[in-house]
């Protein structure tokens, strides 16, 4: 599975990439990711990549990504070139366009309203991603693994996953 995770510096893009990659790795997959640090951290557009399954690099070519996960709907378009036509978009806020399956989540609002701050939006998006790809992430197993992460807002994660767990 090839993922592009994007957003703006400071929104937790690198953290989200780490959480998803670390989870895949803990589930036993060979996993590799690429982050961008430095200048980009200061509020600029930022994207990271993640490959779950055997790969030597996290580099993703045009039209190759299965998932575009965005912490900011305004950043989706900038990374659309990576997405395969069968790809899925999961984004905070609202995006429409293209032949893609789109899952819009008001994660920032929900995080601020229900879980104590926008910084927990990432946990909601993580939950949504796990729920959308159950054959890869095995939700019950993922929840058990992620429960060990004390910094992760577990309620926000479960909210993202949906109520059936």
């Amino acid at each position: 599975m090839r993922c592009v995770i994007c957003g703006r510096g400071g929104q937790g893009v690198i953290t989200l990439n780490y959480l998803l990659g670390n989870l895949a790795s803990a589930l036993g997959y060979e996993t590799i990711s690429a982050e961008t640090h430095g200048m980009a951290m200061r509020g600029g557009s930022v994207y990271t990549t993640l490959k779950i399954g055997k790969a030597m690099s996290a580099s993703i070519g045009a039209g190759e990504a299965d998932l575009l996960l965005s912490t900011d709907s305004g950043e989706v378009e900038r990374c659309l070139r990576f997405l395969s036509e069968k790809g899925v978009i999961i984004t905070d806020g609202f995006y429409e366009g293209g032949p893609f399956e789109i899952i819009n989540v008001d994660a920032g609002k929900a995080a601020a309203g229900k879980f104590g701050g926008v910084m927990h939006a990432g946990a909601i998006l993580l939950g949504k991603t796990i729920a959308r790809f159950p054959e890869i992430f095995h939700p019950e197993k993922s929840v058990r693994i992620l429960a060990q992460n004390k910094k992760l807002n577990q309620q926000a994660l479960l909210f993202g996953l949906g109520s059936d767990l």
């Binding site: 790795s25 990711s33 640090h37 200061r42 030597m56 690099s57 580099s59 045009a62 950043e75 659309l80």
Partner: protein, 580 residues
């Protein structure tokens, strides 16, 4: 330690521990910064130091290795420029323990002033260099670098690129690590204090060693041609290409070379003689490509098959393979708009003291020339308060010379606290002894912010900036809180006058801790009164990220605003006001 999802920088640090490194020295710089902090995390009982600059880091590690210890240093590629002097010399003397020099490159560049290739330094200085493709490879090739260094007594470079440093990979950390190796200094003036006469002999020895190292390293690599063509790759491009093997399987063999220098002559001619044509993939200089002699059958950067600048990507790899194999590009359906608006620019954080310092400098001397330096505050370009940015410490030297060339203009340079200690001190002393009437603004946020908040000497309590300035003979020194814009403007004006009066640099220290490091909230966000005319002063010119214009008036985002209240001073109409 077990399985984890590790950063390339973490795995290089762990490899140093596993190889028995007893000390590690570094100066922070993206993308190398996490290497030393990871060594501290994995080997807290061993010695780790943030040196004041890369030259010092390399010398400190080299001296430890000359004393028989296993040591390492890490820096970014432009840091290696600063460390080049000891690098070339230590290549000749060699070491008696082991020395690995990790120099992280930044093709793109993403967070650097150049995309230079550190491997060219290894080539020029005549030391071996390994070129890892991904984090797991970085672990293996860092360990290998220590092994070569121990066995042959030469310093060895490890050259990861940003995509190796800042990639994470699932990896099983080996349980076994070597105990830290400490040595004792054994006098040998013909090596450690070699005069030119001895240097020639050392050079001959080094050249011989390089041949042995090349043969030794590649002794197990067999070239068994199965296809008519070959793709020869090293470093990150090898990883990208390996993931696309299906595109050329059967037509071309894939050969990954882990050490681009030195390469045995026999290996090069064997590859040349075994294949009709050869594509070479590497970053960023065609070092390996130019090792081939039969130029007309070798494709790469020199033939335009691979771009000569910019980062190597899956797309550039596919394009190069198509050109090389004379294949038509696949017709992929891409639904992205042909052009997207450029994304938001990186900018200084809300409440950053640098922003108001720049604002005050511009207000104090609107016609001034503003040489800048390397760090978060390079973003002062957005505020039009940085006119030059060359390399670490160059703000002060540029100020001295620009003032000489443009005597009628006030020249006010800005330099961060870490950069001041890095290379700013000799520059300021030079300006002092040459009677340069410049104003120097030291932006003191008590940390190395851009690279992840590494410590600075004065915040650790060893010395103060003021003590240093006194020692440099600077008499006009004002310390100011940049949140007080009125006082800041007055301080800059006074410094310009004092510099002129005394024919000597005058310094203003803008002191305000990094708000992102301290997560500091200075107070309540201000309120917005009626009367906003959308002049853009606060959100465009002052560029505060907490302020936006909603079509009618400005809005202040309470979550990101830190309550510095500088916008109250900046707003020309008094619309933004303190919320008492």
């Amino acid at each position: 330690m077990g399985r984890g999802f590790f950063l390339g920088n973490e795995l290089m640090a762990y490899a140093a521990k596993a190889a028995g490194a007893s000390s590690f020295y570094a100066y922070p710089g993206t993308p190398s910064s996490e290497i030393l902090s990871s060594f501290q995390k994995y080997a807290p009982e061993r010695y780790a130091q943030w040196a004041l600059n890369e030259k010092l880091a390399l010398e400190l590690a080299a001296a430890a290795a000359i004393s028989g210890s296993v040591s390492a240093c890490a820096m970014k590629q432009v840091g290696l420029n600063v460390a080049a002097d000891p690098l070339f010399s230590v290549a000749y003397t060699g070491v008696s323990g082991a020395l690995a020099i990790i120099s992280a490159d930044d093709p793109g560049p993403h967070s650097s002033q150049t995309e230079q290739d550190s491997r060219m330094y290894a080539y020029a200085a005549k030391i071996p260099v390994t070129d890892p493709a991904n984090p797991a490879d970085a672990f293996r090739l860092t360990k290998k670098a220590f092994e070569i260094s121990k066995k042959y007594g030469v310093p060895v470079m490890v050259r990861p690129v940003m995509r190796v440093c800042h990639s994470r990979q699932s990896f099983d950390l080996p349980e076994e690590t070597e105990a830290p190796r400490h040595g004792r200094f054994v006098k040998d003036p013909s090596r450690w204090a070699a005069t030119p006469k001895h240097r020639a002999a050392l050079h001959i020895k080094l050249t011989e060693k390089l041949k042995e190292i090349a043969e030794d390293f590649y002794s197990e690599l067999e070239i068994k041609p199965k296809a008519p063509f070959a793709v020869v790759a090293c470093g990150y491009p090898a990883a990208v290409c390996a993931d696309m093997k299906d595109r050329f399987e059967g037509s071309a063999d894939f050969i990954k070379l882990d050490m681009p220098y030195p390469i045995p002559e026999g290996l090069i001619s064997k590859i040349e003689n075994s294949y009709e044509k050869i594509l070479v993939l590497e970053e960023t200089f065609p070092l390996l490509e130019r090792s081939f002699v039969t130029r007309n059958r070798v494709y790469g950067k020199d033939t335009g098959t691979v771009p000569s600048a910019g980062e190597f990507t899956a797309d550039s790899c596919e394009n190069a393979l198509n050109l090389f194999m004379e294949k038509k590009p696949e017709n992929k359906k891409i639904y992205a708009p042909a052009e997207t608006a450029p994304g938001p620019k990186p900018r200084l954080c809300a409440g950053c003291g640098h922003r108001s310092a720049f604002f005050a400098i511009k207000r104090a001397a609107p016609s001034g020339i503003y040489p800048g330096d390397i760090g978060c505050y390079t973003l002062g370009t957005n505020l039009k308060a940085v006119d030059t940015c060359i390399c670490m410490g160059a703000s002060i030297t540029f100020a001295e010379s620009l003032k000489r060339e443009n005597p009628e203009k006030p020249v006010i340079c800005t330099i961060g606290d870490s950069t001041f200690f890095h290379t700013g001190i000799p520059a300021l002393l030079n300006a002092k002894i040459n009677g340069s009437p410049i104003a120097v603004a030291i932006l003191d946020n008590a940390t190395t912010a851009m690279t992840g908040f590494q410590p600075v000497p004065h915040a650790e309590g060893h010395i103060t900036i003021e003590q240093t300035l006194k020692g440099l003979g600077i008499n006009s020194v004002t310390v100011i809180d940049p949140y007080d814009i009125k006082a800041s403007v007055a301080a800059v004006k006074a410094a310009i006058a004092a510099a002129k009066e005394e024919n000597c640099p005058a310094v203003v220290i803008f002191r305000r801790e990094c708000v992102t490091k301290t997560k500091m909230k200075a107070g309540k966000p201000p309120k917005v009164n009626p009367g906003c005319t959308d002049c853009g002063m606060c959100y465009e010119v002052f560029e505060c990220p907490a302020i936006t214009f909603n079509g009618e008036t400005v809005e202040i985002d309470g979550a990101s605003c830190n309550g510095c209240l500088c916008c109250v001073e900046v707003c020309p109409r008094g619309v933004i006001a303190e919320d008492k």
